[in-house]
Amino acid sequence: MLVDFELVERARAGDDEAFSEIVGAYRKRVLGTIARLIGRPEDVEDVGQQVFMRLYLSLNQLRSPEVFEPWLYRLTANAAYDYLRRQRRRAESRLADLSEQQVVMADAAAGFQRLEEEHERARVRELVQSLLSSVSEEDRILLLLKEVEGLSLKELEKIYHVNENALKVRLFRARQRVLKALAAKQSSSAASKATGRG
């Protein structure tokens, strides 16, 4: 825990200052998780603010301060899920222009070396995002919480209120789909290389 139980209790009792302290302690971690869940750096703060707004409004539903962190993760996952669904509905041009935006931002900010690094990071983000488009938003979030955030099955169990076996099955299926997408990507890039050579 980044804060003590007493602070959570105070915030739950309606102490706004205590709540601000909680935001201060957790905002970086929450924003990092959101950044990896949604893959769009420019929208991270907006989603993060939504998370803390939901936290404030739902603090009275928190059973005990001990479950505060899983509760916060749950709110984070839900906000990211809502964002991803909204994005899908808007059908924005996203993956293609994501890297472009990053490159433009980096270009303005720094020199060639940094631009190269940023370009590589954008390429990785783009690749992972395209692989994750082969699974549903729910599975995407679950998979990222496990594989990238490094949460254990026990922690995921507390967040999702689902038993470990069900989570394992879901994670296995989602991972298989991503692996299949990765294999397909590899074979298509191999084929295009071969065509280029020929």
């Binding site: 601000s20 201060g24 924003l31 950044a35 703060e45 993060g48 983000r125 992972v128 692989l131």
Partner: protein, 117 residues
């Protein structure tokens, strides 16, 4: 990452995916929140509070209006024309009315008329 063009076995593909997760983590570091983050959170909370408050006021106004309509309808119904007579007499009253001298008189007159025919 494996060289492109190679057909990967499942284990190698698994390893590659694990490496990709790590690279993705590095490619998405925890961003530094801006100074506007906390004020933005409070603004959102206030906005939500306001909308909840106005929703409550609307709901209260609607409940008040519904109660007023009920009262008016109740008054109108009670002031409307009285119901039929049989609703207002009790069983004992109806029985007494049936045995009243006037009814008896009509009944005997009727039976006499039938007997003379």
């Amino acid at each position: 990452m494996a060289k492109q063009g190679e057909t990967l076995n499942p284990q190698e593909l698994e390893r590659q995916l694990n490496r990709l997760w790590e690279a993705y983590r590095r490619a998405c570091p925890d961003p530094e929140p801006t100074a506007a983050f906390l004020p933005g959170v409070w603004r959102l909370i206030e906005k939500r509070r306001d909308s909840t408050y106005s929703l409550c006021r609307w709901a209260q106004a609607l409940v008040g209006a519904a109660a007023a309509v009920c009262v008016v309808l109740g008054i109108l119904l009670s002031a409307a024309a009285p119901g039929p007579v049989f609703n207002r007499t009790t069983y004992v009253e109806a029985l007494a009315e049936e045995n009243s001298p006037e009814v008896q008189l009509y009944a005997s007159a009727f039976s006499n008329e039938n007997g003379s025919r």
